[in-house]
Subunit: 211 residues, 2 copies
């Protein structure tokens, strides 16, 4: 890593400043390196913007915060929410509403899914919003039929989530647990996406045999 990049991360609050041993000499320990690797992973594999990483790390480091809140923060940060923009604290509504019937329907669809699955999640949840937004977009793009796959997708998602939980459940120290959660959430997306592509290639090779 180029030194100026590290300085940049320090400025951005992604890394703690090294311990000054003299006004022009700082020492970086193992914890720094670990943190740096985590940052790079979130950045490169997870594709998170720096600002999001800062928030996630803040959640990790805030030992007051209960673990499920950290998960929430990671999920929040990792979710590129594509619709109608919404700041975290949910400012005044202003306009918004009015024009989007598609989105409304999509939200209902999501609510139904959540109910059918028995998932206990806040309907205002950002992932749910993102899902609704994606479904609305699909509808608009002429692929409303895609929702028929939701059950299969949800089934698969549950399976993955179970595996994730198993993984995190092994951790004992908060530090480790919390990091596992973050890593699992963010990197898991990339891993799954890659696997999905691979499975698709395979499935499609069977369906459309390459002569």
């Amino acid at each position: 890593m180029p030194v100026p990049t590290i300085k940049y991360y320090v400025r951005e609050g992604l890394l703690p400043p090294g311990e000054l041993t003299s006004p022009n000499q700082a020492s970086y320990g193992e914890a720094h390196e670990r943190r740096l690797r985590l940052v790079r992973a979130l950045l490169e594999v997870g594709g998170l913007p720096v600002a999001a990483i800062r928030e996630v790390l803040a959640a990790i480091d805030d030992t007051e915060r209960p673990v499920h809140k950290v998960l929430g923060a990671a999920a929040w940060a990792a979710t590129r929410y594509g619709g109608e923009d919404a700041g975290a604290p949910e400012g005044g509504d202003g306009d918004g509403a009015a024009d989007d019937a598609e989105l409304k329907l999509a939200r209902e669809r999501v609510a139904r899914l959540v109910e059918a699955r028995g998932w206990r999640i806040d309907p205002g949840n950002r992932a749910a919003q993102a899902l609704a937004s994606a479904l609305a977009t699909l509808e608009r793009v002429g692929h409303g039929g895609f929702v028929d796959l939701l059950d299969d997708y949800a089934e698969a998602a549950e399976r993955v989530a179970r595996a994730d939980l198993d993984y995190t459940a092994r951790r004992v120290a908060r530090e480790d647990l919390v990091e596992a959660v973050v890593v699992g959430t963010v990197m898991g997306d990339a891993v799954f996406a890659a696997l999905r592509r691979m499975a698709q290639v395979d499935a499609s090779a069977r369906l459309f045999p390459p002569e």
Copy 2:
């Protein structure tokens, strides 16, 4: 959509230029609108860069191209490959090799998985590369144990891929089929990621009950 944005898309080759009815009047038909929606979907929900969208659309529009090649193009474009950069045509190797033992191991792990699954995919496949890169990163970040979840992930991925195939299999016209493939590939990621988050929230709410 702001007009200049549409012009920009036309310049970038994402949209065909409207039919000129006079030097200062162009008419945009339904096909244009459909295409525009697709572009927005790939851009906002899929998060693809404009250049990638251009390639995908070129693949869609090239009626010579067999369907599985289009799937390949979509998968290629949608995969943010985080490692060691590699241009599509694979330029001269130069250096590279040398330092990454992690990556080598990860590649072997991926090869083993592919074999165990009986997937028929080219090992040079970009998704496989991306997977290896992600696994290597996980190892480096101290979460090598994550690979234990690979089987569960792969199982889920297969399920999703099967659903995707079912969906596309309904299509008859090439135009439709190909678009379904692209939409499924790109938007499916977003949908699944959202569902995974939701399932995680649920699972974690059960495991760490919010008092």
